[in-house]
Symmetry: C2
Subunit: 251 residues, 2 copies
DNA sequence: AGAATTATTATGTCAGACATATTTTCTCTT
DNA sequence: AAGAGAAAATATGTCTGACATAATAATTCT
């Protein structure tokens, strides 16, 4: 169990509990240990535990009833589009399934958002996106420096739509990019390859060409998904090799 | 200020504070009153206030720093796709802008989700959707009875995609339908008119016709948006009339 | 005037107590 | 024996008061 060394903050406790739920250790409907039990397990006061649980209640992960205890809510009620929840999922089980799902949603949302951006965005919006593009360009082959402006690029498009719900979708994009970043270690050159595709998106936006912007973003999504899929299969292969080595060593 | 009569639960306090933020009384960056101040204002202990604030932290609305106080986070960080946050927004400021934005997102997501559902859903998934459809049919002209299966219909399609992020989008759909329901009081027959459009969606799904399902859902979205827009303008007109009457009476 | 030090203060955490709402158990009746 | 109803048990909900901690504000010294 995730008992840690000495002191945990409510945030880290929330993350640990969330992971238990996300990884299926505590399934839907499971009544989790009582607060006093959790308090002693994490070596904090009951107040801190309650704070951690409140955080998770806010994300729809759990609910409490007096005397009955705190239970894991139905999967449907989990707010998977929450930024922290996405990050926790990402670090707990970065499966191929997760990657597939997140890219599927991006493909649905981002091209349309891009079209709206081109049609309705202001020049300041476009300038912000261009600034992000230049940041990516300036980063060269530096994966770390490339990541931040990449996010700002995509987020800038969402912001330009002026739609609060599309803007909130930025959290999902952020999680996806973080995943890509983690995977790109096996292929450092991959991020840079997306630069011309970003350029194409930017050009269509400046031209206020909604259809063109949609298509350009669509192509960028194609490339991104392709990169992720191949990176994951490489990763998988590597993991399998390590597994083989470990197995050989063990017996 | 939202000071209430005697006892408030952390949830209702969270809602009240959230409304202050959503309506712009406390803008981005605003440092809200200190916990002791809030405690006396809501007539509860500091512990309850902290619980309420934790809930809002979980939704990305606020963040706290020792000594510096609790501040309202940037709009971009608000998780507007959270169910409670949507409901609070809906009850606090059900503006035309809100309606427009939520329908814009539905138009992007639901037709695609519907196509995926048709292509990939299981027969059990389809049966669940059909059950919802029959519930709508059975409700006849009863607006109240119509609402729940209507939500189940749309949610069923999202669930059938098997995509956790699309499923989480159900919260947004739920909020939109609640809004429609509230507005339909000025035109009680409106919901029922959507029934054949739902039927068309269902038929295309059973036929596993992805393109047809997408188009059918698209048409349903058209109708829904149309209903909302006309209902809102009726509402607006009514409000304006009441305003005129009140103004006349006042002077 | 500017840097370093000290005081202040709001959130963070703790401890222990009591309130409240369910669930569980027990008891009594039919 | 079965079922209704009363009593006990218990986990969350709430309150109080205290201290810890970190960021800010005020002060002192160079």
């Amino acid at each position: 169990m995730a008992k840690s060394s000495s002191k945990d903050s409510p945030q880290s406790i929330a993350r640990d509990v969330a992971r238990m739920i996300l990884t299926g250790v505590w399934r839907e409907g499971t009544i989790l240990p009582r607060e006093i039990e959790l308090a002693s397990r994490f070596d904090v006061s009951r107040a801190s535990i309650r704070e951690a649980l409140s955080l998770l209640k806010g994300k729809g992960l759990i609910a409490s009833k007096q005397k009955a205890g705190t239970h894991v809510r139905a999967r449907f009620d989990w707010n998977m589009l929450d930024e922290e929840l996405l990050n926790w999922t990402l670090s707990a089980l970065p499966t191929q399934e997760f990657a597939k799902q997140i890219m599927e949603v991006r493909r649905i949302v981002e091209p349309e958002a891009c079209a709206i951006c081109a049609a309705r965005g202001t020049d300041e919006d476009f300038a912000r996106i261009e600034r992000a593009y230049r940041g990516m360009d300036a980063a060269g082959m530096d994966r770390v420096a490339y990541a931040e402006p990449d996010l700002q690029f995509h987020r800038g498009i969402l912001i330009a739509t002026g739609n609060d719900f599309l803007i909130a979708f930025g959290a999902t994009v952020a999680a996806a990019l973080r995943m890509s970043f983690n995977l790109s270690s096996t292929n450092p050159g991959a991020p840079r390859k997306s630069l011309p595709y970003h350029r194409a998106v930017l050009d269509e936006i400046w031209a206020r060409n909604a259809d063109g912007a949609r298509q350009a973003m669509h192509k960028l999504m194609d490339l991104t998904e392709q990169n992720i899929v191949s990176a994951m299969s490489r990763q998988k292969k590597k993991d399998a090799e390590n597994e083989t080595i470990r197995t050989k060593r063990t017996r």
